[in-house]
Amino acid sequence: MSFSQNQSINNSKRLAQSVAFTIFKLLSFLVVAILIVILGFILVNGASVISWEFLTEMPKEGMTAGGIFPAIVGTLCLVAGSMLFAFPIGVLSGIYINEYSKDGWFKRFIKLMTNNLAGIPSIVFGLFGMALFVNRFGFGDSILAGSLTLGLLALPVVIRTTEESLKAIDKSFRIGSLALGATKWQTTSRVVLPMAFPNIITGLILSVGRVSGETAPILFTVAAYFLPKLPTSIFDQVMALPYHLYVISTSGTNIEASRSMAYGTAFILILIVLIVNLLANWLRRYFSKKVKMQ
């Protein structure tokens, strides 16, 4: 093969590569562009709606004016309730899977079930929550029923992040602690958990983001179409931000008139997601710096 032939093959190879790479680059930036369009569209349209009144007043005139205060309060209740349930159980369960359980069919079974639970569609959680908490336990449409349903949905996320954070901690720490005469629980609670804690908290924050935006599980367990008062007990119904956005954008009495309210509600939901993600990223970086300094 002559030199020039060789070079032309090389050139065509290089051309194919640069064409392929350019396409990949463009498609990747298309993905980013999609996100920017969605975020930008909602943030720009929603920003003009946001005001102190919008955040602190009850909905008025068939939800075409006023604010979304009860929906904000409702979502806060649901997030708090579901985390109160999912966080302790999830962390304990993660500790069990990574630190205590022995390899065997039982561990495999639990991991398989946790994976399956994570894959179950959120509407099925809604059906289940309705059948068990609302009807069988007789909680009715209530914060309690909604929080438990959302908590079950968040459980696999909390378990998985706990598991991952524990797995990341080197075995030598555990062996060292045990060699000094500490019991297994002492090792877990005083050595392993404090080191894994930052990552576990990050997982908690991310699951807060997930829970606050879920609609399908609360449709039949807690969410109220319109309820211009605040809940007084855990057996009350509440409005919730995602459900509120759904109803005013699809089935309000005057969809066009309530559009600005919808933009405002979507703005708040996006804002929650942004804050949650930024906070999680910041925490991750902050703690990893701290660990390095030690």
């Binding site: 359980s101 399956n116 954008s249 699809t250």
Partner: protein
């Protein structure tokens, strides 16, 4: 003593941890139990609309009908008893309002007090009649045969092409359009998301430098964090009108709109799973390829992609799973018409959207309620198959190493 106490404490803690560990398994089992308990009830119920009676003349040899036949009769698609196994005689339809053709208002009574008796007389008089009226007007000594509709069968439920869960006189509960609608929209979503997602993951794993990667990764995570109802809202106000204008359709709420939104929603899953898979390609393999004179691009599509193929298929399966189960976004943008899909430019209705839209109006314990739980079972089984095949693929991948 202290040691004993310590041991005891450790035992208690281990017990608590074990119990917490079983919560998820317990939940899955409870979900299965409740779904199937409510869902299977549908096969024990007669599909006659609640509180109604369907009667024929005593002489009529037809004693049983299926829900489908009854609907066809009342839609006047079946007009002769011969078609449902009876004699050769035209079918005479009778609805409650038709009573005025036979009797005056006085004969019926001011408060309909004679109505049950009159209904009985009409049915006895007309040998080819089929009458449909509220159960409360069924006289005690009724002169006629009350038709018991056959319970819906599994094949009718799964293979039926009509979903009218509240129609009179007999509800139609064929879920085929809903199953196909779900698969149709998800298929469209994966066709959109897979090329885009794969390109992005190749770019992130192999091409982009670290700075760009650190910029893109959080963006993709953010995409995963946006609530589905916000995607639905965006689809409703942007994508739906766009499709309507672009294709000149009467409505923009179409399968295509659903597929686009679901495709965007499936992107983060596909990107992160397949990127992780590509990152596990051993460095030595890539370097060997480069040392043999292959370009970076040749190395990617001849070494990296084949090596991470099982990871990529996992990503695709997970993406489909995400799309199948998605509720709110689909409910808001697909138009929810329960027809068997044949084009992407027409409305379709998915299983999750049906449950979300109808469960609120279905009385607890009724047939409609149970049918929605049965739909939940189907959805659960679909996602179970997806989860198991993901487990299977990744177990195989581990075994191959």
């Amino acid at each position: 003593m202290k040691r004993y106490f310590h041991n005891f404490g450790e035992r208690v803690i281990e017990g608590v941890l074990t119990i917490s560990g079983t919560v998820t398994s317990l939940t899955v089992l409870l979900i299965v139990f409740f779904l199937f308990k409510e869902g299977l009830g549908i096969f024990n119920q007669s599909p006659v609309a609640e509180g109604s009676a369907i009667v024929v003349n005593n002489q009529n040899p037809v004693k049983e009908l299926s829900a489908k036949e009854l609907k066809e009769i009342f839609d006047q698609n079946i007009t002769n008893w011969k078609q449902v196994g009876g004699q050769d005689a035209p079918i005479k339809l009778f609805r409650i309002d038709d009573i005025t053709d036979y009797y005056t208002e006085e004969q019926i009574g001011k408060d309909f007090e004679y109505l049950p008796q009159r209904l009985s007389e009409v049915v006895a008089k007309e040998p080819t009649i089929v009458a449909f009226f509220p159960e409360q007007y069924l006289a005690k000594d009724f002169q006629g045969h009350r038709i018991n509709l056959e319970n819906i069968s599994v094949s009718e439920f799964l293979g039926g092409t009509e979903w009218y869960p509240t129609i009179q006189p007999a509800v139609q509960m064929g879920v085929l359009p809903l199953i196909l609608g779900t698969l149709w929209v998800s298929l469209g979503a994966i066709l959109i998301a897979l090329p885009l997602g794969l390109a992005t993951s190749i770019y992130l794993a192999e091409i982009a430098d670290k700075r760009v990667r650190n910029l893109l990764k959080p963006v993709i995570e953010l995409l995963a964090g946006i609530p589905s109802v916000v995607y639905g809202f965006f689809g409703l106000v942007v994508i739906v009108p766009l499709i309507q204008d672009l294709f000149g359709l009467p409505v923009g709420e179409t399968a295509l709109a659903g597929s686009i939104i679901l495709g965007i929603m499936a992107l983060p899953t596909i990107i992160s799973v397949s990127e992780d898979a590509m990152r596990t390609t051993p460095r030595a393999m890539k370097e060997a390829s480069l040392a043999l004179g292959a370009t970076k691009w040749q190395t990617i599509y001849k070494v990296v992609v084949p090596y991470s193929m099982s990871g990529i298929s996992t990503a695709a399966i997970l993406g489909i799973g995400r799309a199948i189960g998605e509720t709110m976004a689909v409910l808001m943008v697909t138009g929810n018409a329960s027809v068997i899909p044949h084009t992407f430019l027409a409305p379709v209705r998915t299983i999750p959207a049906t449950i979300a839209a109808e469960l609120g109006e279905a009385p607890q314990g009724g047939m409609h309620y149970q049918a929605l739980f049965a739909l939940g079972c189907i959805l659960f089984l679909m996602t179970l198959i997806i989860n198991l095949s993901v487990d299977f693929v990744s177990a195989k991948r581990k075994a191959n190493r």
